[in-house]
């Protein structure tokens, strides 16, 4: 009996030892993974960079860790700045620094769209909560709102600046025209010129021949017919081709062929895709009059004399 018992004890004891070693190894792996983050490397690099450009004090004050811009009222938790650390240092760091430490270019619209009020993703898209390169830029499986990168814009025949205008129009939807949003401005002109409202309802106005377009950007792309689409099977491209030659993409449609230029159909697509169910608070929505006034050609004295053109401080 003692002999058998002994073997039971020895075997199980050996198993315990082996499994304990495996456990310790696994725990070590967990810790190693937890502390070898993608952002960790950039955060070690960044203070050195600041020091190099004469900001030794700021470099000393730099505290490593996940950084985020948190704006609850527009649902923004943007951890992009955990890697893109130079974003607000354009006055110190040169624009030649490689991503992700490169400062955000000091565009003229940036003065009105402060980082603290807007964060990153409202303009750029992507998954602001993510702290990995792939997760933030592409999102995970089924993440349908990727970051509007240069590559993605190029795939759709646009520049990044043009593509982002779609997101500008989330708030600037009711502007007649907005400075800096050439594509959307062109689309809004075309929308009037081609008399889209004769057949389509947008925000309660228009004819009921075609489908309502108020929330066109939220349509499920799977419900569209891609059988006659020549290019990429994307919601964007379906709209581009449909606007160019509706009779080809949707043979049963009553929509006339407008024979738009590629640039025009892309601009209109950007406009359509910008029409989404979004709930930005009223203080984020610009006064349409102000934007229109800013678009008036400045040399004409009559434009500046009209009372509506008086800039309203927001």
């Amino acid at each position: 009996m003692a002999e058998k018992n002994e073997s039971l004890e020895t075997k199980d004891f050996a198993g315990m030892v082996a499994m304990s070693i495996v456990f310790l190894v696994l725990v070590a792996v967990c810790f190693w993974r937890e502390f070898s983050t993608e952002w960790g490397g950039y955060q070690r690099e960044f203070p050195q960079l600041l020091g190099h450009y004469g900001k030794a004090e700021d470099a000393r004050d730099f505290r490593p860790g996940i950084q985020q811009i948190w704006i609850p009222k527009i649902g923004v938790t943007d951890r992009c700045i955990s890697c893109h650390l130079g974003y607000e240092w354009s006055s110190v760091l040169p624009a030649t620094i490689a991503e992700p430490l490169k400062p955000h270019p000091m565009n003229d619209w940036l003065a009105k769209h402060e980082f603290a009020r807007f964060g990153c993703t409202p303009c750029h898209g992507g998954d602001g909560a993510a702290t990995t390169i792939a997760g933030a830029h592409q999102g995970g499986t089924g993440w349908d709102d990727p970051m509007l990168s240069r590559a993605l814009a190029a795939q759709n025949g646009l520049t990044m600046k043009e593509m982002i205008q779609m997101r500008c129009n989330f708030c600037h939807r009711h502007d007649v025209a907005t400075p800096g949003m050439e594509e959307i401005n062109l689309a809004k002109q075309l929308f009037k010129k081609k008399k889209c409202l004769v057949c389509h309802i947008v925000e309660g106005r228009g004819g009921a021949t075609g489908p309502e377009l108020t929330y066109e950007g939220d349509r499920n792309p799977e419900l569209l017919n891609f059988a006659h689409v020549k290019g990429a099977h994307t919601f964007f491209n379906w709209n581009v081709e449909h606007l160019t030659l509706a009779s080809v993409v949707s043979p049963d449609t009553q929509m006339p062929d407008f024979n738009l230029q590629p640039q025009e159909s892309r601009a209109l697509t950007l406009l359509l895709l910008s029409w989404r169910r979004l709930t930005y608070p009223p203080e984020y929505i610009p006064d349409p009059q102000v934007a229109a006034a800013a678009m008036q050609p400045s040399p004409t004295p009559t434009a500046t004399a009209t009372p509506t053109a008086t800039p309203v401080a927001h």
Partner: protein, 433 residues
């Protein structure tokens, strides 16, 4: 040298060592943690090849799930607005948050599988006869509770996968005769999935079902002891009765005609000999610790290698194509789809047959099986006893059929629930840009 170290270890870590078997037994019975076990257990029930320790593995998974689950509760917010964001925070901003969620996820899916395999083991060893029949029924309820625990947890991330899997699952429940729509209404807390559904599933998931499972688990364990331990003991006892031990020949008993043999057989109340038993501590307690460690390591390894799925935020207006139920219910979905008959524009839904009647029948038969089993008691506690050949084959075929249906549903079903062979290109679902 080894003996010296052992002696030193005993000297430094133990103030007392039992002087007799009786003292050893009392040391177990009088200890709060160890009194759950009997003082001694049958050596046969310690065998790896009999039980594969699947029940202990299930209990280990339950413990892991409870601990990781309580930790997740510190971060998770059961609101349709915050739930998805809190999972993102766990994945990206909470220390070890992703690991925690991964381990919870894989332990949960593992528990569904291990509990089922445990049940299969009990079936194949015919270990549900006599008084053990009650524990079989308790086990079936525990299995259902495990499934429902996993199912309620599936919704909580509030992503597309969760939202549509629960849509599929609760739509099947709706097809039950008479009570179907009421069951669906009760589960959803309304007519469609929303905040009420999330809250109901959350309360079920973190309170009612875990409490139910822990209470039933305690009862399950108590019954194992009261039923006399694992059924393998019956086999040992049968062997002992059939093979009387050799005793020194004495004349007097047979002379007086007291007993047919040459000696009196003295049997213990359990029918087991001293040599058939070992002290439960340290033998069983150490074994349980070992099984727990193995299970913990496996779930941790899975958590390190594989990420728990998380798709885009739940969107009621965009249905993923195809929308699939969780894998352990996908065989039901597959049954529903394949029993749905289309004649022109007229469709006969298979949800009643495939989703309710057939699984309901299977469940009823499974629950009643101890009373349907007519095999001889000698088959008890033996793996794949020839006396139970047909029963075992039936169970194996049913299990295999379910596994095949799950495989087809998970791997071969593509857009519009069409079949696609591995490697066969599937139609690309359109992207946004």
């Amino acid at each position: 040298m080894g003996d010296q170290i052992k002696a030193l270890w005993r000297k430094t870590s133990w103030a007392w060592s039992p002087a007799s078997e009786r003292e050893s037994s009392e040391a177990i019975v009088k200890n709060f943690w160890l009194h759950w076990f009997p003082a001694k257990v049958a050596r046969a029930s310690m065998d790896w090849n009999y039980s594969f320790w699947l029940g202990t593995a299930s209990a280990s998974l339950l413990l892991i799930l409870t601990i990781t689950g309580v930790m997740l509760m510190f971060f998770y917010v059961p609101s349709t607005e915050r739930a998805y964001g809190s999972i993102k925070d766990l994945e990206y901003a909470v220390s070890f948050g992703r690991l925690l969620r991964n381990q919870h996820r894989w332990a949960a899916e593992g528990m569904v599988a291990v509990v089922y395999i445990h049940m299969a083991r009990v079936f194949f060893t015919g270990a549900y006869r006599g008084t053990r029949a009650i524990n079989w029924v308790v086990g079936v309820v525990l299995f259902l509770a495990t499934l429902f625990l996993s199912f309620t947890g599936y919704l909580l991330p509030w992503d597309q996968l969760a939202f549509w899997a629960i849509t599929v699952g609760t739509s099947i429940a709706k097809q039950a005769p008479l009570v179907g729509p009421t069951i669906q209404f009760l589960l959803l807390g309304g007519n469609e999935i929303g905040q009420q559904t999330l809250l109901r599933f959350y309360v079920l998931h973190v309170f009612f079902l875990p409490v139910l499972v822990w209470v039933l688990f305690a009862y399950h364990m108590w019954r194992v002891r009261k039923d006399g331990g694992l059924a393998v003991i019956e086999r040992v006892r049968n062997e002992r009765v059939m093979a009387p031990k050799a005793t020194p020949k004495t004349k007097s008993y047979s002379l007086f005609g007291l007993t047919p043999g040459t000696s009196v057989q003295v049997m213990s109340s359990t029918g087991l000999e001293e040599s058939d038993q070992v002290f439960s501590s340290p033998n069983m307690s150490r074994r349980i610790a070992l099984v727990f460690l193995v299970v913990f390591n496996l779930t941790l390894l899975a958590a390190i290698i594989f990420n728990a799925p998380l798709e885009g935020l739940a969107n009621p207006s965009v249905t993923p194509n195809p929308a699939k139920a969780p894998w352990y219910f996908v065989w039901l979905q597959e049954l529903v789809a394949s029993t749905t008959v289309r004649m022109g524009d007229f469709t006969v839904s298979g949800a009643l047959l495939g989703g309710i009647l057939l699984p309901g029948f299977l469940l009823a038969v499974l629950t009643m099986w101890p009373w349907l089993d007519r095999s001889p008691r000698s088959a008890e506690g033996r793996w794949l006893a020839p006396e139970r050949k047909r029963q075992n084959a039936t169970f194996a075929v049913a299990t295999l059929a379910i596994i095949i249906l799950i495989m087809v549903g998970v791997y071969l079903r593509g857009p519009y629930w069409r079949l696609y062979w591995p490697g066969q290109p599937r139609p690309e679902t359109p992207r946004l840009y």
